[in-house]
Symmetry: C2
Amino acid sequence: MDKYVSIHLDPSSAKPLYLQICDGVADLIEKGKLPYGEKLPSIRQMASFFNVNAVTVVNAYKQLEAQGYVEARVGSGTYVSFAANVKDFDEFTTADDAAPLPREARSVLESAALPRRFDFAGASISPEYFPVKDFKDVVNEVLDRDGGYALEYQESSGYHPLRESIADYMKTQHDLLVPFEEVQIVSGAQQGIDILAKAFLNYGDVVYVEAPTYPGAVNAFRSRGAHIVEIEMEGDGIDLEDLEKKLAKNKPKLLYTMPVFQNPTGNSYSMKKKQELIALAERHGFYIIEDDHISDLYYRQKPTMLKAIDDADRVFYIKSFSKLFLPGLRLAFLWVPKAYSDKIALAKYSSDISSSGLFQRALDLFLRKGLWPKHLRRLRKVFYEKWQKTHDALAEQMPGELKYNRPEGGHFFWLQLPRGFYSMNLYQVAMKKGVFIMPGNLFYMSQRPSEGFRLSFAQISARDIDEGIQKLSESIKLFLQNNYTIIQGPNDRPLL
Amino acid sequence: MDKYVSIHLDPSSAKPLYLQICDGVADLIEKGKLPYGEKLPSIRQMASFFNVNAVTVVNAYKQLEAQGYVEARVGSGTYVSFAANVKDFDEFTTADDAAPLPREARSVLESAALPRRFDFAGASISPEYFPVKDFKDVVNEVLDRDGGYALEYQESSGYHPLRESIADYMKTQHDLLVPFEEVQIVSGAQQGIDILAKAFLNYGDVVYVEAPTYPGAVNAFRSRGAHIVEIEMEGDGIDLEDLEKKLAKNKPKLLYTMPVFQNPTGNSYSMKKKQELIALAERHGFYIIEDDHISDLYYRQKPTMLKAIDDADRVFYIKSFSKLFLPGLRLAFLWVPKAYSDKIALAKYSSDISSSGLFQRALDLFLRKGLWPKHLRRLRKVFYEKWQKTHDALAEQMPGELKYNRPEGGHFFWLQLPRGFYSMNLYQVAMKKGVFIMPGNLFYMSQRPSEGFRLSFAQISARDIDEGIQKLSESIKLFLQNNYTIIQGPNDRPLL
């Protein structure tokens, strides 16, 4: 079973476990780690290895079979299929379905094998872009400099010099004056959200979120017993009319927003909406959590954060370093008005005492050496190219019935099918062509069917974008023509 | 202000902020970083630097003055005093209070300066015992081996190979069969407690804790809106009579315990109490959180964990690696029956998505290379010596009125003053002699006055123990003779 150790299941992911196993195995096959003819472990072995239900494994194997990666041989087991290592499986099966190819042809085809999966679902940046060497140097420098002190408990609010270098960075790069005492280090943005929920929410408090939004935030609020209210999103930010209507009925304690390159839509708030949102927060006495997950990845002009215009001190700002730097570091910071520093530090303490001192010191050095802007410049260049390619491919290939937006940063696009065509059905169709998207229902609290879906170019390589979009376009045309309506639901409002 | 950067304030610590500042400055003076005659920053500068109230700094400076570290010069400011660098301040001031010593005498005395503070309060192991070199090698090996993959998001339940190597370690070292699927990696024991609280507690649920107990756990339960009930401790574990009486009235969902070398008492449960506790959990349908914070640091025989005799699956086991390994790593694991794995992984996900992948890989390699048992053997040797010294010094020097226990592991002793003599008063007396203890009230939910106090030998060096205990003994005698009763309260039951 050793080969399967590299497959990492995340039971909390929006992606079902059977698909995670399916993708994991497909990946091993594509990397040549499971060669043609290799027998897969039995259902029971796999179920016990991954600690899942046998049904989950059965479904994973079925999916692999549907995608042509494996074949089931009755009474014998499941084997990696020959077609798995061939670029375009469809062409072969239609051309000559039954006749086995001669060995020589096989090896030619096998050596020419290329990835045939197009991942527009994943939202994390692939490891090839991580500044591993710079990071390693910095870690070693810290260990040589501080010895055991780098590995002691750190104070709950964070390593003092890091709080200073973050304040410095925010000033020079973002022109924002952050008093270092208002900087609270946390173990990633998710913990930042969880800590704000812990510090400010009581059981039964109301929290407003955008619809659609990032489900991890909703989970954190829910876990505190909060009552969640969704406010509809529009192309230029939250729907203020909907917001005011709901404010008249049910006042929130917190409103959670990603005003720049939102997850999942990629949309940003207009300046007018930012100002009005802050004015409403002041008038109705609620606080805003601004999750700045990716504003550094802009392609046009540097975006203005909500916090930058927050004269009324209504905004709790979260900025992640993990997302664009090294997710494994688990580092982000909160910027919270001084009056709440103690409350936040206490919530942090009861969560995990402190974030890793070593990583805090490493990030501090990374910032002080100017390596962070250097890394961002590089990332921005790579992602700008991918963004341009995605945009061009969409413009060229998408059928007219499909609408999509044009975010000016981040790595998400939001696409919208015509009324009554739900993206969770399209998901099934596209998957058969090896194309993976994130259907919109996953970003609504009710998981209601949605015509929209998220297209992320974080994981896919630049050279695969064009072909991936082409296959997606084919899937959409097929889907619209055949009107595969597996489930029915209400209509989204236009988000674009 | 650069020199003061190394002072780390923890607003959530049981130790008041003014004492933290006082101790931090004292430490700088003792290390020679603030030499004789140096002027301390103004109250305002310090207050703004540490983001605290001016009153806090005033109190810190007063304390420093009381301890002889600094002297206030009217209209000029506060200066590091000459006496600060002299071993026994009392002898000098009584011998020749006013006359300044000649310069030569000063430098002789200054060069002979030794630490004159005896820290029996701190509970973390000093960095000199951390295996920094082995850790550095392992981190570099992981980065060379896995590159960017070591820095990706890790699955919420933990890095698969680490979960296996932990299962393996528990089997070979503790003779416990932990199915690896039941191992959930968390960012330190505090997060383990917080995640269990998140997964299992609803607003208003009842949680039983030992009295006295670790306040960090109580905070995590309280932050979930739980109702906390204290169960009295005895020398051989929880008071079963008190427990049954309370069970008749108010059933808990969880009971939190440290059955081996408890914090703060150092006491361990007898086998009989362990068995009865599990039987009660089964009968009354509650679960037990077993916080194994330090069982590896035993000096007689390997202790038996509650989980080892948990045939009824009532125990959620937490084991910290940070505590004895490298606190800055923030790594621990939960062992929770399979039926709850998903629930726990979800709570982990909404807390911080996953623990650092790099540290998980480093700990995995550390375990696989057999470096953990090697490190423990070394620690056990060092701490056994300190334990023996502390015990011998207590036996020789403590007045008969003082009772204390004899834990067989960890680094805590629990001492108890006669009835009506409260340790928070003794704390004030001992501090004047440079001796720091943790008064018992900090470990009770109500913070009620307590005759008991915790003596930790985690921070103090072996060579200072004898002198420290002697000064403590003098403080106690002084305290008992003069009967400094600043506050009054009820009496503790004997915990020994």
